[in-house]
């Protein structure tokens, strides 16, 4: 069972309290974009084996969306951060790099 800290209400929430929301920081494209931009936004996913940034919803808690950095091989949660950002915080990135020197960010 994953246990993830909600950055809003500070609750250590169990997986059953949360809803997974998929890949984080997708760039939104609208009707004026090209077909492939729209396709990328809607369907194409990084689906990383290893460190992944994703969205979570504190459904049975404060009801807010937030972000988490997690490893899809070990289930380790590196940290969580609020939804109002288009990229992970620098501090979190450098913490992950320290823990996983072999990690190639942004691949």
């Amino acid at each position: 069972m994953l246990v993830i800290l909600c950055p809003y209400c500070g609750v250590e929430a169990e997986e059953t309290e949360l809803t997974a929301g998929g890949e984080a920081h997708l760039e939104r494209f609208g009707p004026s974009s090209s077909d492939s931009e729209f396709e990328n936004y809607l369907f194409m996913r990084k689906n990383e084996k290893g460190i992944t940034f994703e969205r979570w919803h504190h459904t049975y808690g404060c009801g807010k969306w937030f972000h988490a950095a997690r490893c899809s091989m070990t289930m380790e949660i590196f940290g969580t951060y609020p939804a109002q950002t288009s990229k992970p915080p620098k501090k979190l990135i450098s913490m992950i790099k320290k823990k996983r020197p072999e990690w190639g960010e942004g691949k």
Partner: protein
Amino acid sequence: MRKYSVAAIVREALRYNAGWERAWRSPEPKKQYDAVIIGAGGHGLATAYYLGKNHGIKNVAIIEKGWLGGGNTGRNTTIIRSNYLQDSSAAIYEKARSLYETLSQELNYNVMFSPRGVMMLAQTEHEIRGYRRTAHANNLQGVETEFIDPKTVKKLCPIIELSGPRFPVLGALWQPRGGTARHDAVAWGYARACSDMGMDIIQKCEVTDILKSNGKVVGVETTKGVIKTHNLGIIVAGNSSILAEKAGFRLPIESVSLQALVSEPVKPCMDVVVMANTVHGYMSQSDKGEMVIGGGTDGFNNYTQRGSFHHIEETVRALIETFPIISRLKMLRQWGGVVDVTGDRSPIISKTPLEGCFINCGWGTGGFKAIPGSGWAMAETMANGSPSQLASAFSLDRFREGRFIDESVAAGVAH
């Protein structure tokens, strides 16, 4: 290859079973092949088999990082059915189901196909309407299914509780020629036939990179060295995104964990497959007597072949409502597989942006049933360099073009 037969059993019985051969060779890789398949799951092995049998391409290697059949093919709950809503799905799944009917004879290997009938319960008004519609569509597609009433459900499966507290059984979609098969045997049977045609199955060998030149594939780098080819099939289920990245393109796929479990063996009590999509559970009884149970997927990406325990709990809780008789059964084993789920929940059999490189993936929670048909269509696609008729609707560009194959009614649950 020595044929398996009654005479062979008698012969071997008379000489202490000393004459059985290994079912397939385990060769070292050659430098170059006419075609290379990555992944020795059911889909990879079937593709290789039909490349040889239907198209005469026999200088083929199948490269597997673990052991053959050790991926989702050896982890699934073996439900076989073809009662899909859309014509393109019904065509390929019914092709597969009909090939299963004679697969044991074709491969000279007992895959234990058992067309015992598959029942998908309708437990809401929506499901009734959805399944009636599917039954009509199946009639037009030439797939034999019918919508049956609760009395018939009870007759076909006496251990079912029709008037459960939350979701009473209101009817079912019934496919009499659906059923199960022995999952390992399907992989082993195809592997033996491939090896017999001279193909090389290379196990414990991981593909670590895909080699390209001028936009064309020229080979693969593996833990046993470089292997050259101009015709490459990527057929690796949950690992598809990783190999696609190495080939230089992205996929509309997420890898999630799907779990199953089996009970202690009990006397025969159920001779059909029952799927209850509203409560997320399905069950059948294996020939050994174990109740084989599967449930839903986790919501998050996961490469560990382990899922969340609470999903198993939910599935078992739901099935106890439908089958009160199992409430005191002990469960023997539980496991997970990494399944590859696409944006429209339908599979991909396609050319890719890299010339000479083809991909077969996205079967997600329900591709065991499709193995023979998928291999047939993938082989045709790789042999001709362009999508076969069975495969054309499943191409990668459908996501850009908005040609989705929407099967949410027919496949509301893992299957």
